[in-house]
């Protein structure tokens, strides 16, 4: 018996429910698919998600009853208004949050779906980019009567920018164009043309009617010419980002765990690739390396770990690695970046200011920025860039950043998991922008006039004289150096932190 029939059935009696009647739900589901829906209310977005929930999900019986009892009908029909199921998620219950994303969860018999809903109003770029950054697959909704519009182009451009690889064009309201194959094929062709310039792995168009349910979960009798999958069939087959992570091993270190005895574990989540006991890992910033002797979890040590797994790695040598480091294998190192070129979606209401003290947040590192310049703004409709010196909310900015010290960063299109960035205001802590690294360089820009270098011996003599050589104190040394740089930067002083000497020259790496 499927989940659906169970949930649609009225609960039976006072008998103790037997577990064997719901085998499907006791087990884990086969994975999670994060689903972004883009389109305006007019395109039927809420109705489509409502229809998916109604036909394919494990809705509670009282939620179904509410829809039946309400008497609300979908416009121009005698069918229940499924968009009701999204009430409380869409703009009706505006909370005034600047970036507004609502999350909704439902299960089919094989998968967890997470619906990420962002409002379709005019300030949608930053909302959509923020929501799309979590999405495995996006449904771009268009009205069959109007087809691919300017807004569709903007939507697909944002999806591509933040790394969505699977896109479904839902051609809705096919009932209003007489279920015409010609109309659909024309829109499908336009969509194909549009997608050529992006990096999608899969772009599929599905003709449907959200109100009547055609091709949502049930094959449409009105469109026998369409032999492709229904929307839900397609979504259930779509792999998630984590299952499609690249083969290049990356492990951003979050924190160091100690058991008070001999265990020192580098804790983090494998973001791409995999690692096994015996492999050599290297920290690109210090060039220090060690062999993995143990992959620890509370459920016992495991022989290997791959993308998505949260573990703690113990190495054969006590290398000086802490939060902010990204472990990799020697063959495929991330760049110890001094300069970064990036594309940012500007999220804050406050416009870019070249003199504000910004910090760059990478996977687990927070780095003082010594200089940042906006070079250009990107037009999402044409993908053309035009020179600019500043940017504000909803802009896509191309910027060049010089870092106060090196940080491990990848180019997003090559290793997306460790190529994402946030710009953080050093005083308020606010997240100003989210972005992707498009080019990284280990070569520092020539320091500008008046550039102040925080020397390590200068820091060691006064501020850090209470610190020992232990690895914990070395972390603290770096933390204090960062904070001093941040304070100076906020005071308008361009500042760089002197890099630690390389480990293999016999000098103490921390000081």
């Amino acid at each position: 018996m499927s989940v659906h029939t169970l949930h649609k059935r009225q609960p039976a009696s006072n008998e103790a429910p037997r577990l064997e009647v719901v085998p499907n739900l006791v087990r884990d589901l086969g994975g999670i698919t994060h689903l972004l829906t883009c389109g305006s209310v007019d395109d039927g977005k809420s109705t489509l998600i409502g229809r998916l929930l109604w036909d394919a999900s494990d809705l509670y019986e009282d939620q179904r009853e509410n829809v039946r009892k309400s008497g609300r009908k979908a416009a121009g029909t005698d069918l229940p208004d499924f968009s009701m199921l999204l009430d409380g998620l869409v703009a009706e219950r505006e909370q005034g949050i600047t970036i507004d994303i609502a999350w909704k969860y439902f299960d089919t018999p094989t998968r967890r779906f997470v619906v990420i809903d962002s409002p379709g109003h005019e300030q949608y770029t930053r909302n959509m980019a923020s929501g799309a950054s979590h999405a495995d697959v996006a449904i771009v909704l268009v009205d069959a009567r109007s087809g691919v519009k300017r807004q569709t182009k903007r939507h697909t451009a944002i999806l591509d920018l933040v790394g969505v690889k699977h896109v479904v064009l839902a051609v809705n309201k096919m009932d209003l164009v007489g279920w015409s194959e010609d109309v659909f094929r024309k829109i499908e062709a336009d969509f194909r043309t549009l997608c050529w310039k992006f990096n999608f792995w899969d772009a599929t168009a599905v003709p449907l009617s959200a109100v009547f349910g055609d091709n949502v979960t049930a094959q449409s009798g009105n469109m026998p010419w369409y032999t492709g999958p229904t929307l839900i069939q397609h979504l259930e087959k779509t792999p998630s980002r984590v299952s499609e992570a690249g083969s290049v091993f990356r492990f951003p270190v979050q924190t160091v765990l100690r058991d008070g005895k001999d265990f020192r574990g580098l804790a983090g989540t494998v973001t791409s690739g995999s690692i096994k006991v015996g492999d050599e890992v290297i920290d690109t910033l210090s060039n220090a390396s060690g062999k993995v002797v143990r992959i620890a979890t509370m459920d016992g040590d495991i022989p290997s770990a791959s993308a998505g797994q949260a573990v703690a790695l113990q190495l054969d040598v006590d290398i000086d690695v802490s939060r902010g480091a990204v472990l990799s294998t020697r063959e495929m190192l991330p760049v110890a970046a001094q300069t970064v070129e990036a594309r940012f979606v500007w999220l804050s209401e406050d416009a870019f200011s070249p003199s504000a003290g910004y910090l760059l947040r990478t996977s687990t590192d927070l780095i003082p920025i010594s200089n940042i310049e906006v070079k250009a703004l990107l037009d999402l409709e044409t993908m053309a860039s035009r020179p600019a010196r500043s940017c504000g909310a909803n802009d896509i900015a191309i910027a060049k950043i010089s870092l106060g010290r090196a940080a491990a960063i990848d180019v997003f299109t090559e290793t997306p998991e460790t190529g994402t960035l946030l710009l953080v205001d050093s005083v308020t802590g606010a997240t100003m922008a989210g972005g992707i690294a498009t080019a990284v360089s280990a070569k520092a820009e020539e320091p500008a006039e008046g550039h102040f270098v925080l020397k390590r011996d200068m820091l060691a003599n006064g501020l850090n004289r209470d610190l020992s050589m232990s690895s914990k104190d070395r972390e603290e040394f770096m933390r204090r150096a960062n904070e001093v740089a941040i304070i100076l930067r906020a005071a308008g002083i361009a500042v760089a932190i002197e890099p630690p000497p390389p480990v293999d020259d016999g000098m103490d790496p921390g000081l």
């Binding site: 169970l6 949930h7 006072n14 103790a16 429910p17 037997r18 577990l19 009647v21 739900l25 006791v26 087990r27 884990d28 589901l29 086969g30 999670i32 509670y60 019986e61 009282d62 939620q63 409380g88 219950r93 909370q95 005034g96 949050i97 600047t98 970036i99 609502a102 999350w103 909704k104 969860y105 967890r112 923020s130 979590h134 984590v242 299952s243 979050q254 924190t255 765990l257 100690r258 008070g260 265990f263 989540t269 995999s274 979890t297 459920d299 290997s304 770990a305 791959s306 998505g308 797994q309 949260a310 687990t364 998991e417 960035l421 946030l422 953080v424 802590g429 606010a430 997240t431 989210g434």
Partner: protein, 301 residues
């Protein structure tokens, strides 16, 4: 890894990631522990996140003095067996003023003994981050909640100060006077909580399982007479019923359901077939329209 990770594996890994991000970025975190099933899962995830190290922050239980006795026994046993640093805080001023859930509106009781008490406790110890077990699927007003939810000075939730969260990057840099609530289980559902308890063989408070218990029916809801402070009114009487609880809180404010589910498996099966969403069993939510929204702005979870 050979098999692809299941949805529970992925949720667990995400929660561990969040715990580690918060512990690394905040100066003095605390975990809010309310003894219920969500707290049980949250605690288990915290232990996993820092294994083999001990959980690197204390647990805080805000005790209204109206919890079920079984809850308090379970709390103390858990803390003892796992060697946890447990802080119990009660708003004694509120107790002295005679605030209680039987004579006062639930909203007043909750404000004084929960919301105010929580703020007092956070201020007293100077915690800058508090882990909570809230989930986005619980209630519509939580569907937009962040994983790192920022609070202005005075613990006020300011919608304009909430930070966008992109990819898996969690920005925990605090502004002056700001604190943060951290929700590692944001993306879990009620069903996931039960499935995980079953999978990980976690011990939960016995009140979740059906048993014969003394009850009073009031306003159509079944209440349990956990001690002599709850007495039947004129038209009421104490009767034994086979009941269990879907959520646990202050006993005069927590409605029971009649049930035969005596084992964890039966409870999970019953939950998965559930006819009503979880929060209908919690009386404070019905007290006033938009109650949850309001409580959130005031600093309640």
């Amino acid at each position: 890894m050979t098999a692809s990770p299941s949805h529970l594996d992925l949720l667990e890994a995400e929660s561990i990631h969040i715990f580690r991000e918060a512990a690394a970025q905040f100066r003095k975190p605390v975990m809010l522990y309310s003894i219920g099933k969500d707290s049980t899962v949250l605690l288990h995830l915290a232990r996993k996140a820092f294994f083999p190290q001990a959980v690197p922050f204390p647990l805080l239980h805000v005790d209204t003095t109206w919890k079920f006795r079984d809850m308090i026994a379970f709390r103390d046993r858990t803390a003892r067996e796992l060697g946890l640093d447990l802080i119990v805080y009660t708003n004694h001023d509120g107790i002295k003023r005679g605030i209680n859930p039987i004579d006062h509106a639930p909203s007043i009781h909750t404000d004084v003994l929960k919301t105010q008490a929580l703020k007092q406790a956070l201020d007293k110890y100077g915690f800058d981050a508090a882990f909570g077990g809230a989930r986005r699927d619980e209630e519509a007003s939580r569907a937009k909640e962040r994983i790192f939810s920022f609070r202005a000075p005075g613990h006020r939730w300011d919608p304009r100060k909430q930070r966008p969260e992109m990819w898996n990057l969690l920005n925990g840099r605090l502004g002056t006077g700001e604190t943060v609530r951290v929700f590692p289980m944001s993306n879990w559902t009620e069903k996931d909580v039960w499935r995980y308890i079953l999978r990980e063989k976690l011990d939960v408070v016995p009140l979740y399982f059906a048993a014969e218990r003394p009850t009073i029916v009031r306003n159509g809801q079944i209440l349990m007479q956990d001690d002599e402070r709850l007495q039947p009114r004129d038209d009421e009487k104490v009767e034994m019923r086979k009941i269990r609880f879907r959520t646990l809180g202050d006993y005069p404010l927590t409605a029971a359901v009649e049930s035969e589910a005596e084992t964890i498996e039966a409870v999970v099966a019953e939950t998965l077939n559930a006819q009503t969403s979880e929060r209908q069993g919690r009386l404070i939510d019905h007290d006033q329209a938009g109650a949850m929204e309001k409580k959130k702005q005031e600093g309640y979870f």
